[in-house]
Amino acid sequence: MPDRRMFWRIIRRLLGANRGRLFVILLALGAGAAVTAALLNLQVDAKRRLTTEFRSLGANVIIAARNANPGEPSTLSDELLQEIPSTVEGQRVSATAFLYFLGGMSHSSGPKDSTTVVVAGKSPATCTVGARLAAQMGFRLQDELWVENRNRQESCHVTAIDSTGGAEDDQVSIPLDAGQRLANQPGRISLIQLSVPGTPTAINNYISVLQQKLPDADVRPIRQFTEAEAQIYNRISGLLSATVAVVLILTALCVMAAMTNVAMERKNDVGLMKAIGGATRRVLRLFLVESALLGLAGGILGATAGILLSIWLGKAVFGVAARPRLIVYPVSVALTILVAIAGAYPLKRLASIRPASVFRGE
């Protein structure tokens, strides 16, 4: 159809007529698309990454024995460890089991002056001494330490001195199996600490699943951390969403204003086309198609740049490249096309102009 061929030919000429102008429009649209794609991609990823980052706060869930009598330490079977779901939403849950008892600690074997301390049998196995305890008893790294209880003895080499500011500073921790032998409680543990990643809702779900699965144990969140995490998470994700929304809206408006400005310069072209017999509708369609094509090109270029940008940003902030989300790509391209068309739409007002007045230079 010659008509259609003519249409595309005009479009080609419109686009190719002024390289500088084309470049400028693509730059504006591309910048908008890049920031849209980068922020959308980063926003989803950053929130997820943030919940992982919270795990630097340590354990947030505790499984303890349902104690019948206070003051009487009660224990759980260590087979519970196998029943704990090891992942939540694809992220690993780390579990640490403890068995606490009072034992005598000393520098060497044999029945001599030992100090009574809280001993924690711990799995995964460690051999660490709390900072305060180490200072008081003069323990250093690599020293051999002996723990005795009820005439049994175990020893290990100190691999770390723990300074936590918590109860661990006064404790010594040894491998769980050694602890179980010393306390004469084979296969028993006092509690399990879990570090559960994920959003506050995911953590709560995980806890209720666990409560159903382990009816005999007392599964509870460490409220100091779960509550603070939830509050901080909500604030940060709210902040991020709000900032991203504001930036996106303003960027869209800014690009639209720039596009409108450029489109309004087309007054002469519209006048000329109408003068040689172009119907208003066809002329308008011509310019809208041109804008849409520009939007498409700017969007594709910009979104690619944006996704690359977000991968780099993710690496810069969290040390792990943000995973590009495919949905972000078409969304930002579509948004760019919409903005480009909306920017050209005021040309519709030019439909009412009379060609003659344009040529007179009015």
């Binding site: 002024n18 102008r21 400028v24 730059l27 910048a31 908008g32 890049a34 920031v35 922020l39 980063l42 950053a46 943030l50 980052e53 919270f54 303890a64 009598n69 206070p70 003051g71 009487e72 008892f101 100090t115 301390v117 809280v118 305060r132 305890l133 008081q136 500011g165 918590g166 109860a167 500073d169 006064d170 006092s190 509870r220 969140p221 409220r223 100091q224 509550e227 603070a228 901080i232 604030r235 940060i236 709210g238 991020l240 709000a242 504001v246 930036v247 303003l250 960027t251 800014c254 690009v255 204003a257 720039a258 400005n261 450029v262 309004m264 310069e265 940003l313 810069a316 902030v317 969290f318």
Partner: protein, 434 residues
């Protein structure tokens, strides 16, 4: 003549100028909003992290090791050392006293506690000791400068919630009981709880039921003065929790202060790192051992640093996009004026003159558009700030200057390229319409 040319250009094409200005204002609004939020948010976020509670723990230097398993301390009552309550107001005299947002002393005493609702009227139903925690609910500490500072356990342990009732009034014969204790004992609000301590017995009225999700659910919380009376340690406490606003520790903050040069030490001392605040507290409380609760402090530092970097990068991306869009818009406005430039040159204007004229126009737009954009951006930052933190960021002169400067630079840069090309135009072909 120059002024006339510029005003004429604005008057002749008001819509174009309006649109270029609008693009500029919107771009600068993006920049302002992102910048104000990032500048402001650091301190507010740090405050949010205080929801984690205390990040410093003060204990007596000579204190014995804690022998605590499952919330029960197996230490003999008389073992260990204590600190004096009267020294606490000194905490607010350290260099970073404004960063200390709360502290609460703790004195724990093993007691027997029971109410009338217990099955046996005179003896506790279980023979195991109950942990009694003496602390401040909400205490006004008189400061040396004449003011007072209100603090208490709710500031250092924000996850302690009252399920029912209210906190006790400090110094009165009232108490708050843990949820599990209340369930076991049957204690209700208004009941009289009998406390049998190592030295004397005291009846207390139950004013609230506490839930913490931890060992305190099995405990009884009483005013510090009551616990001191029960333990026979008037005016003393054993642990102090301090919640302080800190700057996340960087490489410099982690260095050993004793290895620093005098100037570096000064800088370290005058930065609110958790370790320098700990040292300052140690200096005023003397015989105390101030320990950083690493779990809270390190976790907070890490997340905070990440979030700040993230926000700065978002701001940077926003600035970049705004700059590109605005630059493109001003470039477009110059490109379209080829005919005008040709005409001016034909009439005898030099390239410099033409460039100067256009630059002046752009600068005028930049100042006006930048100003309007700043106002819009501050408004949006206010909305975001109020919605999320309940407090608006302060408008700052620095941001205003930065934004107007940025607008000027971006518009000039945007127009520079087409202007350079324009200076090479030969007027004749342009006027012929080629």
């Amino acid at each position: 003549m120059f002024v006339r040319l510029v005003t004429d250009s604005f008057r002749r094409r008001p819509r174009h100028k309006l649109l270029t200005g609008a693009a500029l204002a919107l771009g600068m609004a993006v920049a302002t909003a992102a910048l104000s939020v990032s500048l402001d948010v650091g301190d507010r976020l740090a405050r949010e992290f205080r929801a984690l509670g205390a990040n410093l723990l003060v204990t007596p230097q000579a204190d014995s090791l804690r022998l605590e398993i499952g919330g029960v301390d197996y230490r003999p009552v008389n073992a260990g050392a204590y600190l004096y309550e009267s020294n606490l107001s000194k905490l607010k005299t350290i260099f970073w006293h404004n960063n200390i947002i709360g502290f609460a002393p703790i004195l724990e005493v093993p007691v027997h506690a029971w109410t009338k609702s217990s099955q046996t009227l005179i003896t506790p139903i279980v023979d195991a000791p109950t942990n009694l925690i003496g602390t401040w609910a909400s205490q006004s500490v008189a400061l040396s400068d004449g003011g007072t500072f209100s603090t208490g356990i709710e500031k250092t342990n924000p996850w302690w919630h009252l399920e029912q009732g209210r906190w006790f009034i400090d110094g009165s014969a009232e108490c708050v009981v843990g949820k599990s204790f209340a369930r076991r004992d049957g204690a209700k609000l208004g009941d009289i709880l009998n406390i049998e301590g190592p030295h004397q017995n005291i009846p207390l009225r139950v004013t609230g039921i506490l839930t913490t999700g931890g060992a305190e659910d099995d405990a009884v919380v009483v005013p510090l003065a009551i616990a001191q009376q029960l333990a026979g340690k008037p005016g003393q406490y054993r642990q102090l929790y301090v919640s302080a606003l800190t700057k996340p520790e960087d490489d410099f903050g982690r260095r050993d202060p004793s290895s620093l040069s005098p100037e570096d030490y000064e800088r370290w001392y005058c930065t609110p790192y958790i370790s320098s605040i700990a040292l300052q507290i140690q200096q005023v409380l003397r015989v105390a051992d101030v320990r950083v609760i690493r779990r809270v402090a390190d976790g907070e530092g890490r997340v905070l640093t990440r979030v700040r970097t993230l926000l700065w990068l978002v701001t940077f991306a926003a600035l970049l996009a705004a700059a590109l869009a605005v630059g493109a818009s001003s470039a477009a406005s110059v490109i379209e004026r080829r005919t005008e430039i040709g005409l001016m040159k034909a009439l005898g204007a030099g390239s410099g003159m033409v460039g100067f004229l256009l630059a002046a126009e752009q600068l005028l737009l930049a100042v006006v558009g930048g100003g309007v954009g700043y106002a819009v951006g501050i408004l949006l930052a206010r909305v975001v700030g109020e919605k999320i933190f309940g407090a608006a960021p302060q408008p700052s002169l620095f941001v205003l200057l930065l934004i107007v400067g940025l607008a000027a630079v971006v518009t000039l840069l945007g127009s520079a390229l087409p202007l350079r090309r324009a200076s090479r135009y030969e007027p004749a072909p342009i006027l012929r319409g080629e």
